[in-house]
């Protein structure tokens, strides 16, 4: 009897320890997040002023801002999304609507999932071989192409998932009144899955706006204002990379401010996507 009690006590204690460790793990995760955000705010806000948005990236030792980098990032992100999104949506449409039970679709799904988590630096090398080397110079076009390559898998994934959630009765109802399949997809299925598809695009934007590795040797960098798509262009992540690793204090301060801007943008987009997805998806 006593032995049983001791054994029971021991089991209870061990369970308590495990539970305690799980709480600790969750606490650790939240602490890391808090530390990163706190450091960003502390260091980033110090350099945040109007000049960040109105002046160009400075040479070391003088004042300046991040205007050309912000503009470059926006330009390449917009082009990347405009090019990547239609391809992603159409591919996702094929897999969910036409080839739902195909062998090919499951192969594409498998490959797409791998592309989704493949190293982004490899994308940079790919675009370098495909565009930069034949053209002979770095350019904003190459940077946008690299970003578009990263947009596609994200959009394919969410589009397919969202279309799969659209109830089949909707499709049957619209087909029964004689709607051709392509019209049914565009007028009925897309409309039902719209919120989820928008979420996917938002997530894709969030993902590419912080990407650095694929831009390092596609769009390179540019210290001056440039909107020429056929020339190297500055981007926030690459400027942060260059400035943070420099020995100049004012460059490092700008890097922190840039880091704060990017994180704010990415987290806003993610939260927006999260809210948009949960409040209006067809589930």
């Amino acid at each position: 009897m006593a032995l049983d009690r001791i054994r029971y006590q021991r089991r209870k204690v061990r369970s308590r320890i495990t539970i305690g460790l799980c709480w600790l793990a969750a606490g650790l995760g939240l602490t890391i997040l808090a530390f990163i955000l706190a450091t960003l705010l502390y260091k980033g806000l110090a350099g945040l002023g109007l000049n960040v948005f109105t002046e160009m990236t400075p040479p070391p030792g003088s004042d300046g801002g991040l205007l050309n980098a912000i503009a470059g990032s926006l330009i390449m992100t917009v082009i990347g999304v405009i090019v990547g999104t239609p391809i992603g949506i159409l591919a996702g449409t094929y897999m969910a609507e036409y080839g739902r039970y195909n062998k090919v679709s499951s192969v594409i799904r498998f490959i797409n999932d791998i592309l989704l988590s493949a190293p982004s630096i490899v994308t940079g090398l790919f675009i370098y071989e495909l565009l930069v080397r034949p053209m002979g110079h770095f350019s904003a076009i190459a940077g946008s192409a690299a970003l578009a390559t990263l947009v596609i898998p994200t959009v394919v994934r969410t589009t397919e998932n969202m279309l799969l959630l659209v109830p089949n009765t909707l499709r049957e109802a619209s087909t029964s009144i004689g709607l051709p399949q392509s019209l049914m997809i565009r007028k009925v299925a897309y409309r039902a899955a719209r919120a989820g598809m928008v979420t996917g695009v938002l997530l894709a934007i969030a993902r590419i706006s912080g990407e650095t590795a694929p831009l390092l040797f596609t769009s390179l960098n540019n210290q001056f204002w440039s909107t020429n798509l056929n020339a190297p262009i500055a981007s926030l992540p690459v400027v942060i990379f260059q400035y943070a690793l420099s020995p100049y204090e004012d460059w490092q301060r700008l890097a922190w401010t840039g880091a704060l801007l990017i994180t704010a943008a990415v987290l806003t987009l993610s939260i927006l996507a999260c809210w948009f997805g949960s409040s209006r998806s067809p589930q």
Partner: protein
């Protein structure tokens, strides 16, 4: 009812008109179908093109060095001697450290979120962990360089060196001096980055465990620890391994965060606190400065090796996750 009357009074389309409309619809239908189909095939072409471009770019390096490219440690741009062993070693060791640290913590958080957390807190804490996944890797890099590495250098590494000074194997593993940056720091930063991915997968697969199974176990008087250890984890083992592999795939290819804190030294050191390099960090650091075809080609060859390794790891991860999906549906 006037609507119906209108319909009846309007003249019906002639057969030729109807045929015209139907033909147009059919043409549009086919066009849309082929458009979506070719976009879907584009994804396949993309993967093939990435592989092909890396093979083409790295061909010169493989041709020059042969298989010894994989087993040589020397990396000397001046004499044009390149070997991939140091970056491959660095990639594997940093990822191993990351997984060793991240996996237990991730499983802990997932257990916390599915079994222990009070209901109202579940969603906010889950979202917070997901935000960790949303933070761009360059942010981890700059934070690691200016905050985490100095912290390790000042408080953690001297302790580690002192503790393991007289322990046989550990003294080489944790040999000083405390640089702050290095293999260990990179591994820990990577751990923070893959943590949310592994946690998300574990949480999702833990939720597939039928409540009946858990209730039956609790009903027999099992403690929470025993339910998790003997019911939840065995039931979801394949899924957990899939999640771990997914995290490993991320860790292997992670670039910017590592580039900041690894020190970029092409050598294999016995100590995990020494600077090193990884495949992705070497490419990020050196590619734009690479002079000469052989140097560039060697870096692209490194990229090919990285893509191959991550492809295999991610493919295995997907296969395992597919298995648990089928199990959940059955």
């Amino acid at each position: 009812m006037s609507f119906l009357a209108d319909l009846q009074s309007s003249p019906s389309a002639s057969p030729t008109e109807r045929r015209g409309v139907l033909a147009r619809l059919r043409k549009n239908d086919l066009f849309f179908r082929y458009l979506t189909q070719s976009s879907a095939y584009f994804v396949l072409i993309l993967l093939t093109a990435i592989f092909a471009s890396l093979v083409a770019g790295g061909y010169l390096a493989f041709e020059t060095f042969g298989l010894s490219f994989l087993t040589t440690e020397v990396w000397n741009p001046v004499t044009e001697q390149f070997g991939a062993l140091a970056p491959i070693y660095g990639t594997i060791v940093t990822s191993a450290i990351a997984m060793l640290v991240a996996v237990p913590i991730s499983i802990g958080i997932a257990v916390f979120l599915t079994e222990l957390c009070p209901k109202p807190l579940r969603r906010p804490i889950g979202v917070a962990i997901e935000l960790l996944a949303g933070i761009p890797s360059i942010i981890y890099g700059i934070w690691g360089l200016f905050f985490f590495a100095p912290f390790l250098q000042r408080y953690v590494q001297p302790e580690l060196i002192a503790t393991f000074k007289d322990v046989p194997v550990m003294s080489t593993l944790f040999a000083g001096p405390p640089y702050g940056i290095g293999i260990l720091t990179s591994g820990l930063i990577l751990a923070m980055m893959v943590l949310p991915f592994v946690t998300a997968v574990c949480r999702d697969v833990f939720e597939t465990v039928p409540t009946v199974l858990k209730e039956a176990a609790y009903g027999m008087g099992w403690t929470t620890r025993e339910v998790v250890k003997n019911v939840v984890i065995p039931y979801t083992r394949v899924g957990i391994i899939g999640g771990v592999m997914l995290g490993l795939g991320r860790a292997l290819g992670e670039t910017m965060a590592v580039t900041f804190v690894i020190g970029n030294a092409h050598r294999i050191s016995g100590s995990i606190m020494a600077p090193g390099t990884t495949i992705s960090a070497a490419i990020a650091n050196e590619f734009t400065e690479a002079v000469g075809d052989l140097y560039t080609s060697s870096l692209i060859a490194l990229g090919l090796i990285l893509f191959f390794i991550t492809f295999v790891v991610l493919a295995l991860a997907r296969l395992m996750l597919l298995r648990i999906e089928k199990k959940a549906q059955a």
